[in-house]
């Protein structure tokens, strides 16, 4: 299990990060004493460090240099400062990457995953592969594959994102707005019709696994995935 050390002085933020990272199977620890960060680091021996710039007593750059003198593990800065110079400063002090506040959960996990993979080899991702499963229907977001009863089909990136969202909130209504938001970054051009087209495609993919009428349209609200394949 990978260990992640969180050096951040806002307790709420630390708790949210911890909660999120636990879901992905990471072991986390946050700093208790801000004047002995290096000692705590050496005791915990983490695989990766999340580091804030503005800290009590010494700033993040200082601790970054301190950690660098004893370890080569990936260090990711989390900071509100979005200037080019601040990022250059961070990298020059030995950091590997930079995340600006406010950030999305997805960005944090994506960056953590990619740095762990780079630092500790490809087996790193095997630990926390992202799959969602509902009543035997398994979605592998990384490999873009949908499986039911040993029957497998490939999905496009956008289709996988839509299904992922619907499966996470199974039997609940997911609004059109939310789905549009999710697929936005993959598309050069998004509008209401784009979503309609993709929902139709997802329905076809589900039909290929002999799932019919599971993806319901709720007029004026959004879509709902009903796991009606469980009796099959």
């Amino acid at each position: 299990m990978f260990k992640i050390f969180i050096i951040e002085d806002d307790k709420q933020l630390v708790n949210l990060l911890k909660e999120h990272l636990h879901k992905f199977g990471y072991d986390t620890k946050s700093v208790e004493k801000f004047d002995a960060v290096r000692g705590e680091f050496e005791k915990f021996e983490p695989h990766l460090v999340l580091l804030d710039v503005n800290l009590p007593k010494y700033d993040g750059y200082y601790w970054c240099r301190q950690i660098r003198s004893v370890s080569t593990c990936p260090i990711l800065f989390i900071s509100a400062r979005e200037g080019k110079m601040d990022q250059v400063m961070a990298l020059e002090n030995g950091a590997d990457d930079y995340i600006t506040k406010p950030f999305d959960y997805e960005i944090v996990t994506a960056k953590i995953n990619s740095h762990l993979r780079r630092a500790y080899g490809t087996y790193a991702s095997a630990n926390n592969e992202r799959t969602t499963s509902v009543e035997g229907l398994i979605l592998d977001v990384e490999r873009l594959r949908l499986t039911l009863n040993e029957q497998e089909i490939d999905l496009s990136h956008t289709e996988a994102k839509i299904l992922d969202e619907l499966m996470k909130k199974v039997e609940r209504v997911v609004s059109r707005d939310r789905l549009l938001e999710k697929i936005w970054d993959d598309q050069a051009f998004v509008d209401d019709n784009t979503l309609n087209v993709y929902v139709t495609r997802v329905r076809k993919k589900l039909a290929a696994l002999s799932i019919e009428d599971a993806l319901q349209t709720i007029r004026g609200q959004g879509y709902r995935l009903v796991p009606n394949w469980r009796h099959m």
Partner: protein
């Protein structure tokens, strides 16, 4: 030279008056030798001319400087001639300048402190924003969506404060590089996707993938975000588009942001770049500070880009950034 003569005119007049009075007294007393009198007057005038000449030479640079306009603040401290009057004036100016400079320095220091404070404060506020952002992120409930929308407004407001404060120290805070226009436009539209979706207005990017501009990414993105939020705010009908059109015009690259919104009245158009100007649209729509376009224009000027705006009522507004 002219100043010198004006200054010495009284002395010259006084001298000639005295010459006439003294010669007159001797004349009335009975001493009536014209040639001797003229000779004495001639000698005496020569002495006066000698004295004036000497005065002028010793104070020449002083007078010359008095006649010349100052081009910069430090101008007067240059070479000075050794004469009591010039030196006295120099001392006075110097001490005055010193006081003035101390005052100016104090204000500068205060302003810098203020900017630093704003900077720090804005950055500190981003931590609670991050926390709220993370809490509402995975929720799809209408209340959380409303909180998310308000959060977006807060974020935008904070950015506005930050960038306004930074504009004065622009020179220390920018980094020009070659940017891909399409990538920048895409990341800007993507960062505002929530508002696009909420308003059911969608962006259309018509920018050639190879189009590049030399600019600062952060400032340019901020300026584009301002233009885009304006376009969004004044598009009231659903299912409209906002067009981002990038093209080459001669040697310049142009980015055009066109909306199909309410447009700006002709009478307001010349003033839209003025600070705090909100115009008719500002009164009809909420959330107008009158600072967005003003800031955008200033940023464009500092980056060396030109900005143009044209608009037709009920048809839309087009803003062009010419790189």
């Amino acid at each position: 030279m002219r100043l010198f003569f004006r200054e010495q005119l009284a002395l010259i007049l006084f001298y000639f008056l005295q010459l006439v009075v003294i010669t007159g007294i001797y004349w009335l007393d009975g001493y009536r030798h014209l040639s001797i009198s003229l000779y004495a007057a001639f000698l005496s005038t020569c002495l006066l001319i000698g004295y004036l000449f000497f005065r002028y030479i010793t104070n020449r640079s002083f007078y010359q400087r008095m006649e010349k306009q100052l081009t910069s603040m430090e101008d007067f401290t240059s070479n000075v001639q050794q004469s009591p009057l010039a030196e006295g004036l120099q001392q006075l100016l110097k001490s005055q300048f010193r006081h003035y400079k101390t005052d100016l320095h104090n204000y500068k220091y205060k302003l810098e402190g203020h900017i630093q404070f704003i900077n720090q404060w804005v950055h500190q506020m981003k931590t609670p924003l991050s926390v709220i952002h993370l809490i509402v992120q995975d929720e799809d409930d209408s209340r959380f969506i409303a909180i998310g929308d308000e959060l977006d407004r807060l974020k935008k407001g904070l950015d506005m404060v930050l960038y306004t404060a930074r504009l004065d120290t622009f020179e220390r805070d920018f980094y020009v590089e070659t940017l891909n226009l399409q990538t920048v436009a895409r990341s800007v539209t993507s960062s505002q996707k929530r508002i696009f979706i909420r308003k059911r207005v969608f962006p259309v990017l018509e920018i050639d993938g190879g189009l590049q501009v030399a600019s600062d990414e952060k400032w340019l993105s901020f300026a584009m975000t301002q233009l885009m939020t304006n376009a969004l705010r004044y598009t009231v009908e659903e299912n409209r588009k906002i067009y981002f059109h990038g093209y080459k015009c001669g040697i310049n690259t142009v980015l055009e942001i066109r909306d199909e919104g309410v447009g700006i009245p002709q009478s307001d158009l010349p003033r839209v770049f003025d600070p705090y100007f909100t115009g008719e649209n500002g009164r009809n729509f909420q959330e107008s500070t009158g600072m967005g376009l003003h800031l955008t224009k200033q940023i464009c000027e500092k980056l060396g880009h030109r900005i143009e705006i044209e608009s037709t009522i009920n048809q839309g507004t087009t803003v062009r950034i010419i790189f």
